[in-house]
């Protein structure tokens, strides 16, 4: 009998917390890896306008076109607003080809739902935007989304 009694006596052994740091580090690394700061490095100023009637954008079917004045490091490009697509500055005439290429990379079923996200600096003149839109019409990619910061109503 005394053999069994022994086990029931005494305090519960403390749960080892030695593996806790490992678990937390694992989570930490996950978040560090999953955090995407920005997709492509911008060569232009890009402060978006704000709007309150915004809809969510589905990333899987979107290509982004950026436009705005060249930022401080890229002063050699001048002060006129330029268009950026995937890490490089393109001319208005190149928009059509670039957008078509982006659409071709999509999964087949998303191709008809292709959306072009326009991330345009709010100080850009709207003429450039209408040039881009004209090119998009030529490329027959008719869905555009003017990306804006959501503001409270």
């Amino acid at each position: 009998m005394s053999k069994f009694k022994k086990g029931k006596q005494g305090d519960l052994p403390a749960i080892s917390t030695a593996s806790l740091p490992d678990i937390v580090f694992m989570l930490l690394f996950f978040f560090m890896v999953a955090t995407v700061m920005r997709d492509s490095s911008l060569m232009i100023k890009n402060s978006l306008p704000s709007a309150d009637q915004v809809e969510k954008l589905k990333k899987d079917r979107t290509a982004f076109i950026y436009a705005g004045e060249p930022s401080e490091q890229f002063k050699q490009l001048g002060t006129e607003p330029v268009i950026q697509f995937n890490d490089k500055i393109i001319k208005v005439e190149e928009v059509q080809a670039s957008v078509r290429a982006a659409q071709d990379e999509l999964v087949e079923e998303l191709k008809p739902k292709f959306v072009v996200g326009l991330k345009v600096d709010k100080n850009t003149h709207a003429g450039l935007v209408s040039d881009i839109k004209q090119e998009l019409r030529q490329a027959n990619t008719l869905k555009v989304m003017y990306i804006a910061n959501a503001k409270a109503e």
């Binding site: 740091p21 978040f31 915004v54 959306v115 709207a126 003429g127 008719l142 003017y146």
Partner: protein, 213 residues
Amino acid sequence: MAKRAAPEVNAGSMADIAFLLLIFFLVTTTIEKDKGLLRSLPPIDDSEVEPPIIKQKNLFTVLINRNNQLLVEDEQMELKDLRKAAIEFLDNGGGTNPAGERCDYCKGSRDETSSDHPEKAIISMKHDRETSYEKYIDVQNELVAAYNFLREREAKRLFGNLKEYQGVEKVYQTMLEEKEKNQFSKDTILNARIEDIKKLFPMKLSEAEPDKS
């Protein structure tokens, strides 16, 4: 001196440090979800078909000049008044739609000189090349807001009494959000309802190209 064994470093606070970092990353991470105004561009039309003549009263013209001033229906207007003016225009219902029916859901003033029917009412927007993009988006936003306001009102009138929308503040928005959520399992009833509302106030927002100067 006798060589002493190095004392073991206490790793107990490691968890605290890791937690601190974890919480920092948790807080600073914004899994960014882009938002914006979704619009469709008109397809390029090369056909020589004569465009239909639109009566002046069914057109609501919004012009933005290079100094970012607004000219709405030939009168200068502030941005904050634009939404109300657009709602009044769309909701007027002074005449009949192409099928000859009167707009029985319009709550406007039924002014003979303003739009006939929401199906006929067209908002036409034109801007200068030098207009700032910010202003342009502001105007777009206000015009979309006018449509959303009216659609919201109709959604509330038609479906606000249903038990799933009882006490819901924004019926139309809730419906859209629901649609978003079940994008993989299509809810035909919900989609049909949204289409019904959209049909009552179809978004007819045309944009003219800026003049080349």
